[in-house]
């Protein structure tokens, strides 16, 4: 099983069935009130379903935190075109590993969420787009889909409700950019994974140019609870303007890394000390990334009083993002961290637009040289300057995602860059070893 030991401070809503024997099987899901949210929704009007999702204050869990109910209400339900539901299971943001456990442990919860979305916008087909590297998850998902068909939870006239729905899996080919919603849709349509010009947004012209709801796996997984227990119950779990729980991936230098389901607004300090079991080897915390490598880095002092929610992070000029928390201790070389992050973005830039395509690789080259001790003082400003010239100017947010952590690291850890000057070896690397 790919799930760490649960922690008592968790609020287990999406993960409520994790740890049960054979959790992925449909029998177990049905025994635990599975698909009851769908049956309830089938008796409601689309407006009522969307209203419950709005009340729940559910915000997209893919990174941008857009209110889900509002997104669903943008779909022109009266359009003569077919509508589609697309699940974003491309999970590639460094530090993020929550969608995989949701699919692996409770795939039927995802299917139910998709079905409810289908009811809400009158869609009759959906796709679960799964990251190429998650090959094994496609088997899990395919098996669950087959079970659902066999037991009448997918297909024609589902459980006598008169509602038809077909669900398919689709695999990516290993590109972070295909997690970006419009690039995902291109990839789903069998084309090169490059983003589209928006507007139009997927709600109006998504898959095959038809109205489409596209949400993250975790977002869909929250929906059955909302329908089963009511939007208000979900909202009450969180804080105002952000309902429910957040799957939080604690990674890096803590004693108990893992995926934990925490209420929105959970205090960062408590998360590290108690849920994560404190810093590894009693070291001091140096840097903190709240939601995947695309977010600006915070220092230990900036974390005073911080909570894991959208506003608290925004107040610190960073983002809750995908919930991929990365914790770095005092032995971490921040130049190397910047380099490691930039290697990722240079590798994943789709190449569509100039600032991201050229900027990421340029930065990677400078940072590599810099970390090897070949940097000059002007390079430090240059790194920040290049990143600033990417920020806000690229076609899609990947360019921003590469720029933001870089800018924050140069600003907040400038002294570490100074320490690498004049051919000095990296103080954090064992002598002579330079690995990235």
């Amino acid at each position: 099983m790919l799930f760490n030991e649960p922690h008592p401070l968790e609020t287990r809503v999406l993960t409520r069935r994790f740890g049960k024997p054979d959790t992925a099987a449909i029998e177990g899901y049905l025994a635990d009130d599975g698909y009851q949210g769908f049956l309830k929704a089938a008796k409601m009007t689309p407006e009522q379903i969307i209203e419950q999702v709005k009340i729940s204050n559910l915000r997209g869990r893919g990174g941008a935190g857009f209110p889900t109910g509002m997104k669903w209400s943008f779909v022109p339900r009266t359009s003569p075109k077919p509508k589609y539901i697309v699940v974003n299971g491309d999970e590639s943001e460094p530090g993020t590993c929550k969608d995989r456990v949701l699919i692996e442990n409770d795939p039927h919860q995802l299917i139910e969420g998709v079905l409810i979305a289908g009811l809400a916008v009158d869609a009759h087909a959906g796709y679960v787009y799964i990251r190429g590297e998650y090959r094994y998850l496609i088997d899990v998902m395919d098996k669950a889909i087959a079970e659902a068909y066999a037991k009448g939870w997918l297909g024609k006239n589902i459980q006598g409700t008169g509602f038809d729905f077909d669900l398919y899996t689709h695999t990516g080919a290993g590109a972070y950019e295909c997690g970006e919603e419009s690039a995902l849709l291109e990839s789903l349509e069998g084309k090169r994974g490059i983003p589209r010009i928006r507007p139009p947004f997927p709600a109006v012209a998504g898959a095959f140019q038809c109205p489409t709801i596209l949400n993250n796996v975790e977002t869909f997984c929250a929906v059955p609870y909302i329908l089963r227990e009511g939007g208000q119950a979900f909202a009450d779990l969180g804080i105002p303007k952000a309902g429910g729980t957040k799957m939080t991936c604690l990674t890096g230098h803590v004693n108990r890394p893992g995926v934990y389901e925490l209420k929105l607004g959970f205090p960062v300090k408590q998360m590290i000390e108690e849920v994560g079991g404190g810093m590894r080897n009693g070291k001091k915390l140096k840097a903190f990334i709240p939601g995947g490598s695309s977010c600006p880095v915070l220092t230990a002092s900036e974390l005073e009083g911080a909570n894991m929610d959208y506003d608290s992070m925004a107040a610190r000029k960073t983002m809750l993002g995908s919930g991929g928390v990365i914790i770095m201790d005092e032995d971490t070389c921040m130049v190397k961290a910047a380099l490691r992050i930039m290697r990722f973005y240079a590798h994943e830039s789709c190449g569509w637009c100039i600032p991201c395509r050229e900027g990421t690789t340029w930065l990677k080259k400078i940072l590599t040289r810099f970390h090897e001790g070949q940097g000059t003082r002007t390079d430090i400003n240059l790194i920040g300057d290049i990143a600033k010239n990417m920020l806000g100017r690229t076609f899609c947010p990947l360019g921003d995602a590469a720029a933001m952590p870089t800018i924050s690291i140069v600003e907040k850890f400038r002294d570490e860059f100074e320490d690498h000057l004049n051919g000095k070896p990296c103080a954090y690397e064992p002598a002579g070893v330079v690995t990235v």
Partner: protein, 760 residues
């Protein structure tokens, strides 16, 4: 005006129609917003980020190339932030650019150079190693130098959207993204070179032009392509009396920037090593080079003697020579040689169409109509292969205006990808068309479909390239979105065993519902069929325009200028009989005079007592001649030609070939030698054209339009043309993309492309 949008750009009030993009709105007041990936007429990309501008109330800078105007919008294009963004975007671009401008074909005409000059930084802060990949050859005419590429995706779009071929794409990602050809390491396409032409930098280069010259060393001459009947304007770049390049970058002709492989490269026949440069006279059974004076004398004396002896003459004219030459030739034949045996190879039944149309509401269409009219019906022809420009226009009409296109053809055609309805007639073998042409020493079989228009799907359906596995297509035509959208309407292809008229009847209701229609037909429809077609069109009760397809640059002009026994110039019946081409070659005339034609091709033995041939090459006909007079090509003379839609355009001499003379001049010298020059009038192209304007029905055209390189459509003949139905003489050569009758054999480029296509 109420329906205009008001906005402010750099403090200037701008009024434009709704949906105008900010980048275009700025142009209306003379403000340039720099752009690489934006290209008028192609789908939007927003990839290069050069066009970022500030818009009040928007948090970030916006791409002017994708932003539609809005009422009250305030745009700033010259702020510090905007200028700085441009500078750094260019700096980014140059990081991996080789900056090999000194040896680059594009140096001096390069948009990247111009942008850096105007908006760039004086220096680069880039000190890392550049990404480098070696140069590749994609085809005989297309080379690719990846490091110079700025990934603006213009080439990909012009090939996919403009040509409908889809042969270029992108491989890899990030900084190593690269433009790649469709089949492994090479291109299988129309070889039109549009990708090279549209490339803003020197990344795609031409197999014939690369490393030949610096652009500023050339002189540019705008003239008309001599190959097919579409009549594209081509701008020839010449240096030291040599043509080195053909393109139409200034988009000045009826073809805009379009040229097919023939217009762009196949001017090269003009300096083929076998080009004739001296007159020849048969001495003791062998052709021997002589002086012009000697040769002209032999011809004149023979003509004189035959005229005095009341002997028989035959005159065969050309599909390539100018209107002036054709006019002068028929006058020469009729007035001096006193013969009505004058004809040319007829490639489309223009005569019956004009006659059938007279008194009806039907009109003749122009090339522009194919882009503007709401519906187009193609009968018979595989346009993409035989009339590339017309095919391009229809495609653009579909992409930009969602025109309704119908195709009734024997085989698959490229138009099938977006037709409302495609009908395969005949039910027999798919097609007998699309002959690739002939390579010397190698006969080429027929292909059903040209490169790039590979048959898709079995009979009945053309699969929707855009559709996903579980997709039930109900969407509309492709719109410019972020990705290069191709053609998303699945074609409705039906196969019937009936003929063209059965097919037309089955479309009657659909066609009736169209607001207007342009009908194109080739030689599959002739004689009575043309009349029936016009009748069918009239019965639809909608405005219909026609295009009768003809093969070569001046096929239409040859009929207009009276190169037939039955008609004088301007379709005035002669009322006299005369021999047709095959009758002339088949009978023992005293003298046969062939100007720019090859009627004896394919082992036909000469019968005439004396044969005079004016040509550029020693064709099968010239080989059997008694006198051969070396003629200038279309690129070496001035005059006018009339294309398949009846549009008259001007030829401008680009170069000279030593020893060869324009046919008009040759005829003039013969007349002078015979002492009839005064009777026939001056043999100067513009004087003859004046005579044509005054005397030939339909040709009283506005001179300023033509003289400035424009096209003026000749007016249809109003009134019946009372002649016998001679449509049996009409035969199109159906030249494919890489063939051009006899002329094509002498083009190195066409041959190398053919050979490379055949050798794979």
């Amino acid at each position: 005006m109420a329906d205009l949008v008001n906005l402010t750009i750099d403090g200037r009030a701008v009024q434009v129609p709704p949906q105008t993009l900010v980048i275009d709105a700025a142009k209306t007041v003379g403000i340039e917003i720099p752009a690489f990936c934006y290209y008028e007429g192609l789908s939007l990309q927003a990839a290069c980020r050069m066009c970022l501008v500030e818009v009040e109330k928007m948090p970030k800078m916006m791409t002017a190339c994708t932003l539609p105007v809005a009422e009250g919008m305030i745009v700033r294009t010259e702020t510090e932030q905007v200028k700085q963004a441009r500078k750094y975007t260019l700096e980014f671009l140059l990081t991996n650019h080789p900056l090999d401008c000194p040896v680059c074909d594009k140096g001096g005409e390069c948009e990247l150079q111009d942008m850096v000059f105007r908006y760039g930084a004086g220096e680069s802060r880039y000190t890392e190693e550049k990404v480098h990949t070696p140069e590749k050859q994609f085809s005989p005419v297309v080379f690719f130098d990846a490091p110079r590429c700025i990934l603006c995706f213009r080439c990909v779009r012009i090939c996919n959207e403009g040509m409908g071929v889809n042969a270029l794409g992108v491989i890899n990602r990030g900084v190593v993204s690269e433009i790649a050809p469709n089949v492994g390491d090479h291109l299988e396409c129309d070889e039109c070179g549009a990708c090279i032409d549209i490339c803003p930098v020197g990344a795609l280069t031409s197999g014939t032009y690369r490393y030949q010259t610096r652009p500023w060393e050339m002189t540019h001459v705008g003239t008309i392509c001599t190959h097919c009947g579409d009549g594209c304007k081509t701008t020839l770049g010449t240096r030291n009396d040599e043509i080195i390049r053909g393109n139409n970058r200034d988009r000045s002709g009826i073809n805009g920037e379009f040229l097919c492989i023939k217009g762009r490269y196949a001017f090269d026949f003009y300096n083929h090593p076998e080009r004739l440069q001296a007159p020849m006279v048969r001495v003791n059974g062998k052709l021997e080079e002589v002086s012009w004076a000697q040769a002209l004398e032999v011809v004149a004396r023979k003509f004189d003697a035959t005229v005095s002896a009341n002997g028989s003459f035959g005159v065969i004219g050309s599909n390539h020579t100018s209107n002036e030459e054709n006019f002068y030739l028929q006058k020469f034949a009729r007035e001096v040689l006193k013969t009505n045996n004058i004809d040319h190879h007829r490639t489309g039944d223009v005569v019956t169409l004009l006659d059938a149309m007279s008194g009806t509401k039907s009109q003749l269409a122009t090339v522009a109509d194919l882009y503007d009219r709401k519906a187009v019906l193609v009968l018979g022809a595989d346009l993409a292969l035989e009339h590339p420009l017309l095919s391009y226009q229809i495609r653009a009409n579909y992409r930009h205006h969602q025109a309704h296109v119908y195709a009734i053809t024997p085989g698959e055609v490229r138009e099938d990808k977006y037709t409302v309805a495609s009908i395969r007639v005949g039910g027999g073998p798919a097609s007998k068309k699309g002959d690739l042409g002939v390579i010397p020493g190698k006969e080429v079989g027929a292909t059903t479909s040209g490169p790039g228009s590979h048959p898709v799907g079995g009979p009945g359906v053309v699969p929707n390239a855009e559709a996903g596995a579980h997709f039930d297509p109900v969407n509309g035509p492709g719109k410019a979105t972020g990705s290069p959208t191709g053609f998303v309407v699945p074609a409705n292809v039906k196969s019937i065993t009936g003929n063209y008229f059965d097919a037309l009847e089955s479309l009657r209701d659909q066609l009736k519902a169209e607001p207007e229609l342009v009908i194109l037909f080739d030689d599959s429809i002739k004689g009575a069929d043309v009349r029936a077609l016009v009748e069918f069109a009239e019965s639809l009760g909608i405005p219909v325009k026609f295009i009768c397809l003809v093969d070569y640059a001046n096929s239409r002009g040859a009929v207009d200028m009276g190169l037939t026994p039955e008609l004088f110039p301007g379709y005035k019946p002669t009322g006299a009989s005369g021999m047709h081409v095959s009758e002339m070659t088949g009978s023992d005339l005293d003298v046969l005079w062939v100007v720019g034609a090859n009627p004896l091709k394919g082992a036909v033995k000469r019968k005439a007592g004396f044969l005079v041939v004016q040509d550029m090459f020693l064709t099968e006909t010239a080989q059997q001649a008694d006198v051969v007079l070396p003629a200038a090509s279309a690129y070496e003379k001035s005059g006018t030609v009339t294309n398949t839609t009846g549009e008259v355009q001007q030829l401008t001499r680009a170069v000279n070939t030593m020893g060869a003379k324009p046919d008009l001049e040759i005829m003039g010298f013969i007349a002078r030698e015979m002492g009839v020059a005064g009777q026939l009038g001056p043999w100067v192209a513009n004087v003859v054209f004046e005579e044509i304007r005054k005397n030939v029905r339909g040709y009283s055209l506005p001179m300023p339009v033509i003289a400035t390189g424009g096209a003026a459509q000749s007016m249809p003949v109003n009134g019946r043309i009372a002649v016998d139905d001679l449509s049996a003489l009409v035969h199109s050569d159906h030249n494919g993309l890489f063939a051009s009758g006899t002329l094509g054999r002498y083009s190195k480029v066409l041959n190398s492309v053919l050979e490379s296509h055949l050798s794979r």
